[in-house]
């Protein structure tokens, strides 16, 4: 018969929970009973009874409550006291780790806040099932422009027609607007014309007013509470009047709480849509199905499919379009995708809509991780290094009977303690300098208590993991030591730990080389963009943004006044400023088949524009008052446009430009200039004389004291207009704003690279002390035998130089790939140069050598007698 034993696992469980004093006798009874049962009831039942009994034994008499009831808190105290003593004793170790980790964590905390902000855009409206309708506008040759904007008839055309549309609303930008209340007048740039459905779809919280009808009546305005404070102070603004653009009186019918910074719509006030009047001179009106000038949002019923709805809209546009033109197509875009998923969409006037880029989110998240890795590796490396010198301590502890798991716990607790202290410090730094950092990075986000609270559990779990993770390898290494050898040698010579530490340092070097190379490349690209010739002269040009009404009223008089001064060379104006995107329109050479329509961007400019901005003419002439026909049927195109239209000698050719008053004659060809940003190649562009009031005024001044000339411009303006507000900006400043995102990225990457490299250096600095310490005697003997200082320095540096070389080689293809992808975003890009990588590697080597030089020199220069005499 097979011999049966009591179930081992049940025994194990019992031993685990049962206290020492009772364990022996109970287990004896259990076994005795088992063998009795085995004879009487068979093995199966015996085992079953055994299991049941073991489980039922679990009660207050048997369970293990520590070694003894009285000593519990002492043991707990010991757990913390030993690591604390150790940390206090090794101050430099603690300092390096805490400083390094807290800086790393601080960086991560910042990025965490930023990412949280970016990823929670428009969350407050979640559940409302909101979609934005975007338009794809294509010409017959297949060029597509995807636009945020829709025609004004779309909303009336779908409201109540499609059952899935519960609500629909459209917005129209207010351009620069002056708002006046008694004595207070300001320019406001961020506002929309909107109807009441807007407030019902987007439930922005109202302080006062009724969202159902606040925007129904013409001449109503809803303002945010910050705007209310600006105009009305502490008074209740409800029912009060605000004068818009000096000629329209609006009644305040609602006050909104400030619009959160994580909303893709940016506005300070809403004017009722029924107030909106299409300005004089516009080619379209509100019954248009083709004028892409509005933004449409719909709220769909919860069970409807937005792609099916998109199909219906496409069918609608197809049924409405004329046979010659390509019908619009639509993109029904869910609200949650709008902020991060709109980079390929063009917006007619981008400033009112916030767009984020997934790209910067990914890169920041990766950088945060890399920095954390570096900080974490420092901790691991230093813990291992210092642990190796602690072999004696560990050996004695082992001999005194400290159990292995307690040793491991103690060592891990040390690193957890360090991470905990660092996190505390990181929070302190973070909260105290957040405002400055925010300013520095121009971040549009608030640090609120809720967010801080939210981050605490994440950080707690995180540092716990980090601490355990960093302490695990060294503690296992140490806890597995054989006590006698550990005590005898006083340290471990473990090639495994050397490899481990090489791996960690190597990884840090890869990160450092990658970041340095990226910094250099991004910097070069930004310089490249700035140094490129734009094809026009932006120096000494002052750009002024005006109210259209003021422009219409004062322009001619103001221009005459200014030109009387010798410091003013020329004055002109345009609809869109150079540098902002220009609207897209269609062009067709007169007499060609309508299927030959091409897309060009167009701007309305006044006389003297080309002269003021310094755009050279290749052929023909500029607009002139001597030719009366110019204002109605002349057009100037650029070289790219001539190429697009396939015209060898364009001057004199008749073209149809959009729907503006019949065919126009090309009177001149401009040399290509960069009217938009250098992200894009120079495209085809045309300019015509204005038929509506314009927004931007340009003044070209003579070289010399710029502030004197600005004063002159302002004085004349004040004389003419009785102190209407005036905002001037140098064209150069305006253009450099275009590269703000690159500069911000460059700045961020530089900052984080410096952070990463200094963290890595900090770790090296800490590590080298141990490395050197281990080789004191070796150095002494070598010196006695006649080794030179240089050869000894090389001895220590060799390892790091090798590591940097290997890391650079590993990192090279990766860096090349990533940077090439980034550079591909630019029409005018530099090539990635391998030299950059070499520079990065050399720079890193130099920094590394400087870092380790203090410790190595100290060792190498000392008298060998000091280290060799005591043996």
């Amino acid at each position: 018969m097979k011999k049966h034993d009591p179930p081992k696992f049940a025994d194990w469980i019992f031993k685990w929970y049962c206290r020492n004093g009772l364990r022996e006798s109970i287990l004896g009874d259990l076994h005795e009973q088992f063998y009795q049962d085995l004879e009487q009831k068979g093995s199966l039942r015996a085992k079953f009874i055994y299991w049941i009994t073991v489980l039922k034994f679990f009660n207050r008499f048997t369970i293990n409550r520590g070694n003894s009831n009285k000593n519990n808190h002492l043991i707990l105290k010991g757990y913390f006291q030993t690591p604390f003593r150790f940390l206090i004793k090794n101050k430099s170790y603690t300092l390096i780790n805490v400083v390094g980790l807290s800086i790393g964590l601080f960086g991560c905390l910042l990025i965490f806040y930023f990412l949280h902000h970016e990823l929670t855009f428009d969350r407050q409206h979640e559940g409302n099932n909101i979609y934005r309708i975007n338009t794809i506008y294509a010409d017959n040759s297949g060029n597509q422009t995807k636009m945020v904007n829709t025609p004004p008839m779309l909303v009336p055309g779908i409201r109540g027609v499609y059952p899935e549309v519960e609500k629909a609303t459209q917005l129209r930008y207010t351009l620069r607007t002056s708002l006046r209340n008694e004595n207070r007048v300001f320019y406001e740039d961020y506002g929309f014309y909107a109807d009441s459905s807007f407030l019902e779809i987007f439930e922005f919280p109202l302080v006062s007013g009724n969202r159902k009808n606040a925007l129904d009546e013409p001449n109503s305005i809803v303002i945010t509470s910050s705007l209310a404070k600006k105009y009305f102070g502490d008074q209740d603004p409800m029912g009060k009047n605000i004068i818009m653009n000096n000629d329209m009186s609006l009644r305040v019918t609602g006050v909104l709480k400030p619009i959160p910074s994580n909303s893709h719509l940016k506005f300070d006030f809403l004017v009722s849509f029924s107030t909106y009047v299409v300005p004089d001179g516009y080619a379209s009106d509100l019954t248009s199905w083709s004028w892409l000038g509005f933004i449409t949002y719909v709220q769909l019923s919860s069970e409807s499919d937005h792609l099916a709805f998109q199909k219906k809209l496409d069918d609608l546009f197809t049924s409405l379009s004329s046979p010659n033109s390509t019908p619009y197509k639509t993109i029904v875009q869910p609200l949650r995708d709008i902020y991060l998923g709109s980079t390929e969409l063009v917006d007619d006037l981008a400033s009112h809509i916030r767009m984020g880029s997934k790209y910067s989110i990914y890169s920041l998240a990766i950088i945060a991780l890399l920095i954390l890795f570096i900080a974490c590796f420092n901790l691991m490396n230093l813990t291992t290094a210092i642990g190796i010198t602690r072999a004696k301590e560990i050996g004695i502890k082992k001999i005194l009977g400290v159990e292995k798991h307690k040793l491991i716990t103690q060592l891990i607790l040390e690193s957890v303690l360090i991470t905990f202290l660092s996190a505390l410090l990181a929070y302190l730094i973070g909260i105290s300098i957040f405002p400055q950092v925010k300013e520095l990075l121009a971040w549009d986000l608030e640090l609120n208590g809720q967010l801080v609270l939210l981050s605490i559990p994440v950080v707690l779990i995180f540092i716990l993991l980090l601490g355990v993770f960093s302490g695990l390898y060294p503690s296992l290494l140490l806890a597995n030591l054989k006590a006698p050898t550990a005590i005898k040698q006083g340290r471990i010579s473990n090639s495994g730990s050397q490899r481990f530490s090489n791996g960690l340092i190597g990884f840090q070097f890869i990160i450092a080389v990658a970041l340095i190379a990226s910094t250099i490349t991004i910097h070069n690209q930004v310089q490249h963009l700035r140094s490129m010739s734009l094809g026009f002269q932006s120096e000494d040009v002052v750009a002024i943004k005006l109210l259209r009404q003021d422009m219409g009223r004062y322009f001619e008089k103001y221009k005459q006044r200014l030109l009387q001064n010798s410091q003013i060379q020329s004055v002109s104006r345009s609809e869109r400023i150079v540098g902002d995107p220009w609207p897209v329109n269609s062009i067709l050479v007169d007499g060609y088949d309508p299927s030959e329509y091409k897309q060009v961007t167009g701007n309305l400019v006044d006389y003297d524009f080309l002269e003021t901005i310094g755009i050279a003419l290749k052929n023909g002439r500029a607009f002139s008052k001597n030719f009366a026909a110019d204002s109605l049927n002349s057009i100037i195109i650029n070289e790219s446009c001539a190429t697009l239209l396939g015209l060898e000698d364009p001057v004199g050719t008749q073209v149809n430009f959009f729907s503006f008053n019949g065919p126009r004659t090309i009177i001149g060809v401009m040399e290509d200039f960069n009217f938009s940003s250098l992200h894009n190649e120079i495209g085809p562009a045309v300019v015509i004389l204005p038929f509506i009031d314009l927004e931007y005024l340009y003044v070209k001044v003579t070289p010399g004291s710029i502030s004197e000339r600005l004063d002159l411009i302002e004085d004349h303006w004040n004389e003419i207009t009785n102190d209407a507000p005036l905002e001037m900006q140098l064209m150069d400043d305006h253009l450099s704003r275009l590269y703000k995102s690159e500069e911000k990225l460059s700045f961020l990457i530089t900052g984080f690279s410096i952070l990463a490299v200094s963290l890595a250096c900090l770790g090296l600095y800490g590590l080298i002390a141990f490395v050197v310490n281990k080789k004191l005697k070796e150095v002494g003997i070598r010196k006695v035998l006649g080794a030179s200082v240089a050869s000894l320095l090389l001895l220590f540096s060799k390892r790091f130089i090798k590591l940097i070389t290997v890391s650079t080689i590993i990192a090279a293809p990766l860096i090349h790939q990533i940077l090439s992808i980034w550079l591909d975003n630019y029409a005018y890009r530099i090539e990635f140069r391998w030299g950059t990588l070499a520079i990065a590697a050399i720079l890193l080597t130099v920094i590394t050598l400087i870092t380790i030089s203090y410790q190595t020199l100290k060792t190498v220069l000392q008298n060998p007698v000091n280290v060799l005499r005591d043996e």
């Binding site: 006798s25 009874d29 076994h31 008499f61």
Partner: protein
């Protein structure tokens, strides 16, 4: 304070007295099962510990045997206060027995 014995406690305490000097967990459990009552070993032990806590039994480590894997038994003996408790319990029962009217128990 007068210590009250539960029914199961009283049974265990009686058996400790019966198996004088030889009582341990499993022996008591076997004795109970021989009386036709099934019980789990853990209940017996727990009750013994509770009695020890009340000061009615004393335990000491004793001999071992092969089936126990060389583990020693924990022997229990009854203490003075255990004896008093048993006696009191018996007397109160007897008093009740005596007060039963004769005719009730007739015919058994």
């Amino acid at each position: 304070m007068k210590k009250v014995l539960g029914e199961f406690e009283e049974l265990i305490l009686l058996l400790v007295a019966v198996q004088h000097d030889q009582a341990y967990g499993l022996s008591i459990k076997t004795a109970i099962e021989e009386m036709g009552r099934s019980v789990n070993l853990s209940n017996v032990h727990t009750t013994l510990y509770r009695l020890e806590e009340k000061g009615m039994v004393l335990s000491s480590m004793g001999d071992s045997s092969a089936t126990r894997g060389g583990r020693r038994k924990r022997h229990f003996i009854i203490t003075q206060s255990g004896k008093i408790a048993l006696k009191e319990s018996k007397e109160s029962r007897l008093m009740l027995w005596d007060s039963i009217p004769n005719l009730v128990m007739d015919g058994i």
